[in-house]
Symmetry: C2
Subunit: 337 residues, 2 copies
DNA sequence: TTGAAAGCGCTAACAA
DNA sequence: TTGTTAGCGCTTTCAA
């Protein structure tokens, strides 16, 4: 009964159904023109054989894989997860899948990853950030597929981008802090070399502080990315020790902001009365914790959705696709005045 | 100079380097026997042409894709992200990649996803949980590749499993709660129909309460999975209203536990004095928040690593691979007596 | 250490 | 609406 050796192919189905392999192929494509009874017979035979469509053969012959490759710094980050979620959902509607890879906040790992992903012949590639090794840039330029940079607004985009200015977003938060009366403001972020978005945010902080004639030197290095809650807590401890007269702190993410907040709670430092805290990313935690966190909503999911829509329109060749600038939104909540 | 039409193939390289395509193929395999100078010439020619290896052709001919397919309920969950992280790292060491898909906590979506993933001819598949539709089960059984179920210990495994008893883990927490003197204990979880692991945890709660001769009916339904912080906060509000004499609550995850904790803080309900809280999953937040959360560490990353090692040993045909039971660990912290 | 021949399973292109 | 032919780019297999 069951041919236990080799899995059945379209040729096997064709034999049973009494048609040509090409007709079998057509029966599996929803759009194709084929007599309904023929299709039924073919699908019946396929079911009987336990046939599984072989996309590796289809991919090679048609030169379409149905993949969109995506690189993100870490899978374990709700912001990037949201972007991937939005992207996947849009692409799924067009029958495409995302092929994900993690760079661990390292441009060299990113380069290696991009090379691997391109070998799988994705029909488009989405990368996080606008800073890459020269070789990675070259690989992307030569790939002859749509390239979308996200979470940034590169000075010289490789192809398209869907993002925002990280520096600009933080400048906006500094402006708000200054407007409500804070003067001795610190920035809590990771070491400059790794997380390029984090270091863009720090630059935005420094620029804005200078613009307002304030001291931009209250910078607390929280360690190597990923900067998460523990790093935020440790950095707050350091800040309270080294610059105890600080009135407010802007953190590179809501996760580190929450860690900083927790450290304040443990030490009886009142937030926001004695120390105001701002975060970045509008993670769920910032809207639940006590007090809730002032933050910047970078519209993570929207970035993914827009990237997906952009890709589909490029591949379809319809419309006039262009890069998209997302406007981050300042959310003022309880952790600041 | 640049052949702007078609991307270069191994045949193009072979022509330039003056060798056969087969030799070019060998030059790209690290293990193959080839004269060092020949390889240098070939790699030089490849570099010059901007050659990118085409894995779609390789996949078809060799019948090996280098993929391991993985289904997880949600990308936006640190526990599953950790499992995928551990798995990916192990597989990467063997030059394999993970192909990820999200089921959104829905067995029908899972079935559809499994079908799609199998078409890509993964060399193994890892699924989260041990409950599937009959058709999904059949697809996995017929796939003739290693199947690993995780985060559960199925009564009838499809192939192998790397997991633990969700019910048993929660029973252990109930035992501890009872031992330290709590009697009126509630369980906060999602609707039974969707999240099968969550409902296993609830069963474990009910069984253990009955075993101790306590009332097992303090069950708060927190809505449809994913159950996160907001749902936890709302459910705590409902609990305080409906069963105000409750002494302790066990939450289906640390995220809902944190939401519940935050709601208590807002209302001035002292934790743990007036309300003890237990979580599940040992998320980072539980070790940072104030008070820290008593939880169960399901060893998420370890599950992924073990699954990866198991897959590699099955594919290599070495050793005597078998299913693996992980022992979850109770972490008693500040949110309970 | 290298080469020649064949073909993985599907589908583009064209024909009927 | 269906069939025929050829071939996607690589690697298995066998031979030299």
């Amino acid at each position: 009964m069951k041919p236990s050796r080799k899995p059945p192919t379209m040729a096997d189905i064709a034999r049973i159904a009494g048609v040509s392999p090409m007709t079998v192929s057509r029966a599996f494509r929803s759009d194709s023109l084929i007599r309904s009874e023929t299709r039924q017979a073919i699908l019946g035979a396929a079911e009987e054989l336990g046939y599984v469509f072989d996309s590796t053969a289809s991919n090679l012959r048609s030169q379409r894989t149905g993949f969109v490759a995506v690189t993100i710094p870490s899978i374990n980050n709700a912001n990037f997860a949201d972007t991937v979620g939005g992207l996947s959902e849009v692409l799924e509607g067009a029958g495409m899948q995302t092929l994900l890879g993690y760079t661990n906040y390292d441009v060299h790992k990113e380069e290696q990853l991009i090379e691997q992903l391109l070998q799988r012949k994705p029909q488009a590639i989405v990368v996080t950030g606008g800073k890459h090794t020269p070789r990675a840039r070259k690989l992307l330029e030569n790939a002859h597929i749509p390239v979308i940079e996200t979470w940034d607004r590169p000075a010289e985009p490789i192809g398209y981008y869907v993002g925002f200015s990280n520096a600009g977003a933080v400048r906006g938060m500094v402006d708000h802090f200054v407007a409500v009366g804070y003067r001795r403001i610190a920035f809590l972020g990771g070491d400059a070399s790794r997380d390029t978005r984090g270091s863009d945010r720090r630059h935005g902080f420094v620029e804005a502080m200078k613009y307002h004639g304030l001291d931009p030197s209250r910078l607390i290095a929280a360690g190597t990315p990923p900067i998460s809650m523990r790093e935020g807590a440790n950095a707050m401890a350091a800040l309270l020790k080294q610059m105890p007269d600080t009135e407010a702190v802007i953190c590179v993410s809501d996760l580190s902001a929450f860690g900083a907040l927790a450290e304040c709670l443990r030490r009886g430092v009142a937030v926001p009365e004695r120390m105001a805290i701002g975060g970045f990313g509008n993670y769920e935690i910032g809207d639940i914790c006590v007090p809730t966190l002032t933050t910047i909503d970078a519209r993570a999911r929207l970035i993914g959705e827009k990237a997906g829509i952009l890709i589909l329109s490029i591949l379809a060749g319809t419309g006039e696709p262009g890069s998209i600038t997302i406007a981050p939104e300042l959310l003022v909540r309880e952790s600041t005045r």
